[in-house]
Every structure is written in structure tokens, then in C-alpha cells.
């Protein structure tokens, strides 16, 4: 900054303000060229973000103040009518409860399983590479294909119950019971994505200096104490990162619900994004769909800010 703000020798010779102060040169200084090059480099990304993120976001807010029925061809400004409808929507409490159950279940199961797998597969044992690949491979599978296969496996006469009956247990009709359907949707999603968090945790674990463990062992710390006092604090930034992306991802679940349960049985697995989809794309009510999107946006924003703020309390290196 200071170099560019200071008058160059050339500037000093050629231009003087009436007040006598130096004035920056209008030509192409090296700094300006650097700046321009920088902006040119970020321009495509910036333009993409504006076009495909900011503009749609603004439009969603705008649409949420309208009644927009595509079939009828109506688009009328209705003020806060959609928000009043949102506040009085009798289906919304159930939808939010299903969303909260799904998110809580998914985040808890995903993070604990990912961490457990990462710790297990961080040992120097034969075959860990095979297992790492095995647990990570679902991440690379197409989501819908993965879910369709699970739909077959979870049928009453499907593979999961076949396996259970082989060991002498009768499994439930997974996708037809309200509780079992929710469990099934959560587990299918966890198995799909747990590998990603596992890899992130693995990388973090491998970054923990070995001397710390050696020192603590000399001090007589057991396996659990070492995990709690050294491992967890040292990888806490990764725990923060994975929890934020998992929470945000859990709130955006759609394809799994659509393929596995269609929001049922009853409305037990109708989460917010699925309800939004129903209103906008099945009931042709884009205005109310946009209002639900704004609600979703607000929820994601609040949860992310809360997690970010809480990091000071438990993430090491964040003082």
C-alpha cells in the first residue's frame, strides 16, 4: 500500500495539486497493472457468483413477496401474505420437526462414525488402505443410483430383511414405518457420505505431532485420555469444518427422501427441502416455495453463524 501511495519520482516532477500535495499518477503503474490482473483473474468467478448465486438469491426474496402460479400464469405482488401463510401453515411444525430429527441424527451419526473409522484406519496395520477405499467409494457413487439400490434392499422382502432372517431375526418393513423410515433415510445418507468426513479426519489425525503422544505416554496417559486430551483438541478445527458442512448438507437433503420415501409414510420424512419442492414444483406455487427457501436460507445462516461463534469455546488455535 505505502509504496503506491507515495509519489514516485516521476509523479513528483510532473503533477502538483494547487494545494501542493502529491497526486497519484494516472498511467499504468506496476501496482495498477497488478490490481487489474488480479481482478481479471477473479472476474469469471465473481461474475459466476453474481449470476448464479447472488442474483437468484435476490430473486428468491423478490418472488417470496408474490403469488406466482405458473399454470394460471399469475404473478402478483402480495406483500407479506406468503410470510403470514408460513407463520400459520399447519404442516410446517411437522416439517421442521422432521428436518430437525433428520439433521440431528445425520450429524451425530456421521461425525461419530467418521471419527471412529478415521481413528481405526489411522493405525499402521495391513489392509487399512483397502478399508479406506471401501468406506470412501460410496462418495464417488451417483447419489440417485446409490439410493435406488438401497430402496430395493430396504423393501419388506429386500436384502436387508433377507440378511436379518438368515440370522434368525424378522426385520421391520423399513420404509413403511414412521420411525424406521427416518432411521433408514439417515443411515443410507450416512453410509453414502461418511467416507468424505473420514478422509478429512484422517488427514487431520496424521497432522497431530507424534511427540505429543509420546510425552503424554511418559506422563502415564491411557488410550482414552490421549484421545480426549490430545487428539480431539488437535483436530478440533477439522471437527468444526466437518460439522458445518454436514449440518448444511443435512438441511439440503432431497434426492434420498424423494427416492426412498416420497416424504412418507404420512409426512414423517417430509423435510423442509422436500416440502419446498412439493409446493413449488408439484403444487405450482412458486411464490410460497420461494418463501420456504428464504426460511431454509435463514435456518442455514443462523446455524452456521452459531457454530462459527462457538468455535472460540472449543476449537484449539481459535482464541
Amino acid at each position: 500500500m505505502s509504496r503506491a501511495d507515495a509519489p514516485t519520482a516521476e509523479t513528483g516532477r510532473r503533477t502538483r495539486r494547487p494545494g501542493g500535495g502529491p497526486r497519484p499518477r494516472k498511467g499504468w503503474t506496476a501496482r495498477r497493472r497488478d490490481l487489474l490482473a488480479g481482478y481479471l483473474f477473479v472476474a469469471p468467478q465473481l461474475l459466476g457468483s453474481v449470476l448464479f448465486v447472488l442474483v437468484p438469491l435476490a430473486l428468491v426474496f423478490w418472488y417470496s413477496f408474490h403469488e406466482w402460479n405458473v399454470l394460471v400464469g399469475s404473478f402478483e405482488f402480495t406483500g407479506t401474505a406468503n410470510y403470514e401463510r408460513l407463520a400459520a401453515d399447519p404442516a410446517l411444525p411437522g416439517v421442521l420437526a422432521a428436518t430437525a430429527t433428520f439433521s440431528a441424527g445425520l450429524v451425530a451419526l456421521n461425525l461419530s462414525l467418521a471419527l471412529a473409522l478415521a481413528v481405526l484406519l489411522n493405525q499402521k496395520l495391513r489392509g487399512t488402505v483397502v478399508f479406506r477405499t471401501l468406506f470412501f467409494s460410496p462418495v464417488a457413487v451417483t447419489l440417485v443410483a446409490w439410493t435406488i439400490v438401497w430402496r430395493f434392499l430396504l423393501q419388506d422382502d429386500g436384502g436387508v430383511n433377507g440378511l436379518l432372517s438368515a440370522i434368525g431375526t424378522d426385520g421391520p418393513n423399513w420404509l413403511r414405518g414412521e420411525t424406521t423410515a427416518m432411521i433408514a433415510v439417515i443411515v443410507v445418507q450416512v453410509l453414502k457420505n461418511v467416507g468424505l468426513n473420514m478422509v478429512l479426519f484422517l488427514a487431520a489425525l496424521q497432522g497431530v505431532p507424534h511427540e505429543l503422544y509420546e510425552a503424554s505416554m511418559l506422563d502415564g496417559a491411557g488410550r482414552w485420555t490421549r484421545f480426549r486430551r490430545i487428539t480431539v483438541p488437535m483436530i478440533s478445527p477439522t471437527i468444526l469444518l466437518t460439522s458445518i458442512i454436514t449440518v448444511v448438507g443435512s438441511l439440503q437433503v432431497f434426492a434420498q427422501i424423494d427416492v426412498l420415501t416420497g416424504g412418507g409414510p404420512g409426512t414423517s420424512t417430509t423435510v423442509l427441502v422436500y416440502y419446498l419442492y412439493q409446493n413449488a414444483f408439484q403444487f405450482h406455487d412458486f411464490g410460497y416455495g420461494a418463501t420456504l427457501s428464504v426460511l431454509l436460507f435463514a435456518i442455514v445462516l443462523v446455524l452456521t453463524v452459531v457454530q462459527w461463534q462457538m468455535r472460540r469455546k472449543w476449537v484449539v488455535h481459535e482464541d
Binding site: 469469471p44 461474475l47 405458473v70 399454470l71 429386500g158 413403511r176 409426512t267 412439493q278 414444483f281 408439484q282
Partner: protein, 424 residues
């Protein structure tokens, strides 16, 4: 770092100037291209449609091309409405019967009456009134029901014989072809062969409107004729659904929720579906028959599934589209379409015309199952705001599909769930 206005301008200028290039298709006087959304990607269907389009293009220089754009059947209406919302509406669209009221009564379609009656040789009076009823609003026709296909029962005679049951044709001949008897036969097949009994195709404990192929036999209906009163809690419906419930959970004559059985793969003794599925039996390894739906307590009946084609009000070229629709559905082309889709024209509802399309079906089968039934057929349920009602009924019906369900209680809840929508 300071961001000066000039650098911002430079950054903006560096970006592709693509924005300015964005814009709709130019609407000059040159030849136009018509786009038609359909849900069939069947090559034979598309070849037939393209053949009709080519014949039209030969005489109509104002139209340059006609594109048939197959969308997946799953979510067809959602995709179509999303295209409309995205300012990318097709000119013509196939419309499913269950969304017919939403399209017909809302001004989403262009009225066709004047165009059709002013087209030489169209013969509007040949259209069967029962077939066009769903597609009319205030005495005006908004879409042409190019496919009007009754539901019927396909029967696997081998499985019935294996279970020691008479064939459906034998039961029909002796006047015993009733739901009660069909379920008895289905239960016997299940108990003795392990295959499933009766599959109401596409129901799958979700597509409840397919159950109209059963409850109509009890004289039940989901809502009153004017669409304002719920019919789910009426005695006829309770009786029909109780019958269905017992067939599934007590007699095990129908596969339960979460299980699948494909009749056409020989996994079930009977299935309720439309005749267009007969093609799946071309290489069937079992003896089969096609018979009308069994009689219910209210007597014999039939249920029709329909598909219409209409011109969207927001179509880029509505006039040319309406003209093509009149050409495509006139007597000559209607006969060609009859190869795959039973036509709504009285003069073409003959075993001979329908036989061209369905070589696997005998003239008797076509006569008893299709021709005799189109006039009196009840069209599958539909209502304005069908998607919301559909969703509400599905969710409220879910508790019915457990062994210990309180049928009447669940159906009362269904009415409570859809009353607000019916009242609109």
C-alpha cells in the same frame, strides 16, 4: 487494498459479454419450429408421431420443424410446469388425466373448439362425449384426449391352473367374475404357488388413484360430482377399502406394502392395468388372457385412463400449434394413432382398427374390454389442485396399510385432510 471504480469497471468489462447475448428466440415472420412435450420415449411411438409431423410439414411451409420432446413420465407435469416457469414453454403438451382440471380450468390451454370445427373433414361430432368430458370447461374443448384406454385385468392362466382355480374367462362365462371370486383365486395362488395373487399396477401403496379401478365396483368415488364433498368416508368407500385391506392382510391375495411383484414377469396371477401393456406379453412364457374388470357389489363397471394433448396459452406459436393439433387428431391420423392409443372417435372404436395396434389381443377381447366399456367408463379421479389433494390423500392413507388399521377411522382422516382443498 482499495477498490477503485475504474478497476471494478475493468473487471466487469473483462467478463464475457454473454449477458447481452441472452435473449429469447426471435419471433420474426420466418418459418417456426413447434415443440411438443410427450412422456413416451418409445421409438415406435416417436416414429409414428414424426411420420405425422413430416406429412404436415410437407404442406405447411410456415412450419419449419416439429420436435417431439420426451420427458420422463415420473415428474412429467412438474418438468412441464418448470419449463413454463422458465419461459421455455413448449407449443403443445401431452397432459395426464390427473392434472387435466388444473390445465383445463385455469386458462393454461388455448380453446380448440373453433379450430377443430373449422378444419375440413375433422368431424367433431364423431368424438365420444364421455371421452371429451374431462377436457371441457364451460362447453369449450381445451385438449384432445388422444388416448382413452379402459383398465382391464390381465390373467396368468398357468398360475391359476397350478392353484386349481378356474380361468377368469370360465368365471366370466358362468357369471362369477366378481372381485370376491378374483380375490379367492388370488389367495389360492398365493397359498399354493408362492406367487402373488392380484397386483393393481402402479398403485404400489402410493398411487392411490389407481384404486379407483377397484372402488368404482362398489359405487364409491373420492369426491362428489361437483368436487366439493369428500367421498372417502362414505359407506361404499369404507366397504371397498375394507375389502382391499382384507385382501392384502387377511387373505394375502395382493402383495403387501414394500413388496413388488411384476405380473408381466410371471410373478403374479392377475394385474389391473391398461391394454397398452399387452406389448409386454409378446414373449410371455405363460398362457394369459385379458378380461374386463371383475364386477363389484354395485355391478359391472369400467374405469378409463386418459391422456390429452393441448396447446399452451403461453406457447411461442399457439396458432400454428393449434393447426398442427387439428391435423394430428383428424380422422386419418387418429386412425394411425389408434395403433397405440385407443382413439376417442366413435367411428374408429372397432375391433378392426384397434386390432392393428394390438395384434396380441383377439377381436373379442378388444370388443369386451375396450369398445364396450369406453362409453360408460368412469375416468380416473381428478380435481383442481390435484397435486395437493394427491399428496394429502397419500399421506392420510398411509396408516391404512398396516394389518391392524381402523379402516373407517383412517378414511375419516382422509376427508379431514382434503376437505380444505375440496372447498377451494
Amino acid at each position: 487494498m482499495r477498490i477503485t471504480r475504474r478497476t471494478m469497471v475493468a473487471a466487469a468489462a473483462a467478463s464475457p459479454i454473454a449477458l447481452a447475448a441472452c435473449g429469447g428466440e426471435s419471433d420474426d415472420d420466418g418459418p417456426v419450429t413447434l415443440r411438443v412435450t410427450v412422456w413416451s420415449a418409445n421409438e415406435d411411438h416417436l416414429a409414428l408421431l414424426n411420420g405425422i409431423a413430416e406429412a404436415y410439414l410437407a404442406d405447411h411451409p410456415e412450419v419449419e420443424a416439429i420436435e417431439f420432446d420426451p420427458l420422463p413420465f415420473e415428474g412429467y407435469t412438474s418438468t412441464l410446469t418448470t419449463q413454463i416457469a422458465g419461459d421455455n414453454a413448449p407449443d403443445l403438451a401431452w397432459i395426464l388425466e390427473n392434472s387435466a382440471p388444473d390445465f383445463v380450468t385455469t386458462g393454461a390451454l388455448v380453446p380448440l373448439g373453433d379450430k377443430l370445427s373449422s378444419t375440413d373433414g375433422y368431424d367433431v361430432d364423431d368424438l365420444v362425449p364421455a371421452a371429451t368430458e374431462l377436457w371441457r370447461h364451460d362447453d369449450e374443448l381445451y385438449a384432445y384426449p388422444f388416448s382413452t384406454s379402459p383398465f382391464a385385468m390381465f390373467v396368468n392362466n398357468d398360475l391359476l391352473a397350478e392353484a386349481g382355480q378356474p380361468t377368469a374367462a370360465e368365471l366370466a362365462a358362468s357369471g362369477e367374475w366378481t372381485w370376491e371370486r378374483a380375490v379367492e383365486a388370488g389367495a389360492a395362488v398365493r397359498a399354493q404357488t408362492g406367487a402373488d395373487g392380484i397386483v393393481i399396477r402402479d398403485f404400489d401403496y402410493s398411487g392411490w388413484d389407481n384404486l379407483s379401478t377397484l372402488w368404482t365396483g362398489w359405487g364409491a368415488r373420492p369426491w362428489s360430482e361437483d368436487g366439493t364433498e369428500c367421498g372417502f368416508a362414505e359407506p361404499e368407500m369404507v366397504e371397498a377399502m375394507d375389502f382391499m385391506h382384507r385382501s392384502v392382510f387377511e387373505h394375502e391375495a395382493m402383495p403387501g406394502p414394500g413388496t413388488t411383484a411384476d405380473f408381466f414377469a410371471g410373478e403374479a396371477a392377475m394385474t389391473v392395468t391398461q391394454i397398452s401393456r399387452a406389448g409386454l406379453l409378446e414373449d410371455a412364457a405363460f398362457a394369459w388372457d385379458l378380461v374386463p374388470l371383475p364386477a363389484g357389489p354395485a355391478g359391472e363397471y369400467s374405469v378409463i385412463g386418459q391422456a390429452g394433448i393441448g396447446v399452451l396459452a403461453v406457447a411461442p406459436h399457439p396458432e400454428q400449434a393449434a393447426d398442427f393439433l387439428a391435423f394430428m387428431t383428424g380422422p386419418e391420423n387418429s386412425q394411425k394413432l389408434a395403433q397405440y392409443f385407443p382413439p376417442p372417435r366413435q367411428s374408429q372404436l372397432t375391433a378392426e382398427v384397434l386390432g392393428q395396434a394390438n395384434p396380441l389381443l383377439s377381436p373379442e377381447q378388444l370388443q369386451t374390454v375396450v369398445i364396450d366399456r369406453i362409453d360408460e367408463g368412469v375416468v380416473k379421479p381428478s380435481h383442481t389442485g390435484q397435486a395437493q389433494i394427491d399428496q394429502a390423500v397419500r399421506a392420510a392413507l398411509d396408516p391404512l396399510w398396516t394389518a391392524d388399521a381402523d379402516v373407517e377411522g383412517v378414511l375419516t382422516e382422509v376427508c379431514a385432510a382434503i376437505d380444505p382443498f375440496l372447498a377451494r
